[in-house]
């Protein structure tokens, strides 16, 4: 290799350059992947045909959405419980336990609900999408679909993407409700806040703005996760081992992207709409 004798700082700089170039290429790849999927789907709609069958779409919503309800509900329930307990004892010292309901409600609708759901779905559904499409790619099925004159992006990717984008907000809502419910139990048992009073406190503190923020985030995460997962699946190389690598990478990338975008969203949001 040419850089065998290069100085360590040069190597580090080269490494960083290499990494950032790869990063940019991947970002561009996913971006164009989304654009092409939209294009292919709209071309199909322009011809006056349905882009994909309702049965195919509902199969994906069933798997991505309905089957994920127990997981999302349970994890959020436990997290809501813990959050209410931990903050409760701190707040109790200042005699402000009645802040617990608002804290949990705002914390989940704006932030934790979408984030948790995003992470869980990236692992549960993103991995499945990548493995499935990756296997189809290495067994030439995707090429065969293309060779028939069927657009693989609108046939394979569009129903998966739409299913996840539409179901993320629903699952986030499930997660929010589970967490708020859990915290109401804690409030009643440890801090003697009765359920009707709890509801009043939640209603007082929760703004429409918080709910809309959470839903917007959910849509965005759904798009990100499905795009990354399908992109990784369709670009698999190297047989069965390649599918394995791509699946791992899909989950890691999707979770990182979800957390990264969440941070970005929050920074932008709090800059333009403080408080």
């Amino acid at each position: 290799m040419a850089n065998a004798h290069a100085q360590p700082p040069v190597l580090v700089a080269q490494g960083i350059g290499h990494l950032s170039r790869n990063f940019l290429r991947e970002v561009g790849g996913v971006f164009w992947f989304i654009v092409n999927t939209f294009q292919e789907t709209f071309e199909r709609i322009q011809k006056g045909r349905v882009p994909f069958r309702a049965t195919s779409f509902f199969r994906h919503t069933q798997r991505a959405g309905v089957d994920s309800v127990p997981l999302a509900g349970l994890v959020s329930f436990f997290l809501g419980l813990t959050m209410a307990l931990l903050t409760g004892y701190q707040l109790q010292r200042f005699g402000t336990e009645r802040l617990i309901p608002g804290l949990v409600a705002i914390g989940f609708t704006r932030e934790l609900g979408p984030l948790l759901t995003g992470i869980m779905l990236a692992a549960r559904i993103g991995a499945a999408y990548t493995a499935e499409l990756g296997t189809m790619q290495v067994s030439e099925e995707v090429e065969a679909i293309e060779a028939m004159g069927i657009g693989p992006l609108r046939f394979l990717v569009a129903p998966r993407m739409l299913a996840l984008v539409l179901l993320m907000p629903c699952l986030s809502t499930v997660s929010n409700i589970a967490a708020i419910f859990a915290s109401s139990l804690v409030c009643k048992a440890y801090f003697s806040i009765a359920f009707p009073y709890f509801l009043d406190l939640v209603k007082d503190s929760l703004l429409i703005r918080d709910i809309i923020t959470g839903i917007l985030k959910s849509f965005l995460f759904g798009l990100l996760i499905s795009a990354i997962a399908c992109y990784r699946g369709l670009t698999v190389k190297g047989g069965a081992a390649g599918v394995g690598t791509a699946t791992t990478s899909s989950v890691v990338t999707a979770i990182t992207a979800v957390i990264g975008f969440d941070t970005l969203y929050n920074v932008v949001y709090t800059t333009f709409y403080p408080i």
Binding site: E43, T135, E141, A144, E146, A147, M148, G149, I150, G151
Partner: protein
Amino acid sequence: MTTPTHMVELRDVQMQFEEKKVLDDFSLKVEPRERLVIMGQSGSGKSTILRLILGTLRPNSGTIFFKDSEITRLQRRKLQAVRQHMGMVYQYSALLSSRNVHSNVALPLEELTDKSRDEIDKIVDEKLDLVGMKDSKELLPEELSGGMRKRVALARALVLEPELILLDEPSAGLDPVIASVINELIISLSDTAKVTSITVTHEMDSAFRIGTRMAMLYQGKIIEEAEAEKFKQSKNPVVAQFLSGSTEGPILEGSLDAITKK
């Protein structure tokens, strides 16, 4: 530039995978209703040629025509439209593993035509009958043997009534009787339905039964191209060795010495 009247034409095609040159200034013309058979060693690039014609691979340089359309320049939308006039049978069948035989064959009809459920079922039955797979309609691809998959793949390729059909080793893995049935099917398609076919095969019997014209691919080029009878008599040492299956000749020269030395 003149627009060709051929069914398929490849002009000066260069195809290279990383360092490895597979096709080198490769040219080929296929006339309408012709049944061309391409022979060549394993790994010589026969499947690659079929992929280039379908446009699922892009050449490094050169042009490829399907009738009047330049495959290498078409936009996605046009390319999809053109592909509906071609049928491809992949070497390893490439059936969709999550769909049963019936819905594999029905897929192009469901996605690309406005036919009703009943019409689709009728066409699917008819095509499956042609390849002798009518009784396996409900089976999944994983429940089929290799030869059965091949036949389902052929039925799927025929379902849109293509003008051109590309067959990658259609009779590999079939018993002699079924292989003959498939050969006769390919011949009758061009006789009755005016289908042009390009077949890749190693099996000499089916090659000479099917082919109206034979072509030999060697080191990235067509080195011999003739009517079946003339092809058999070819003086070209590579063709002669290939047809006879002899170890004496220019193909793999020296590898036999390596074996006997051990």
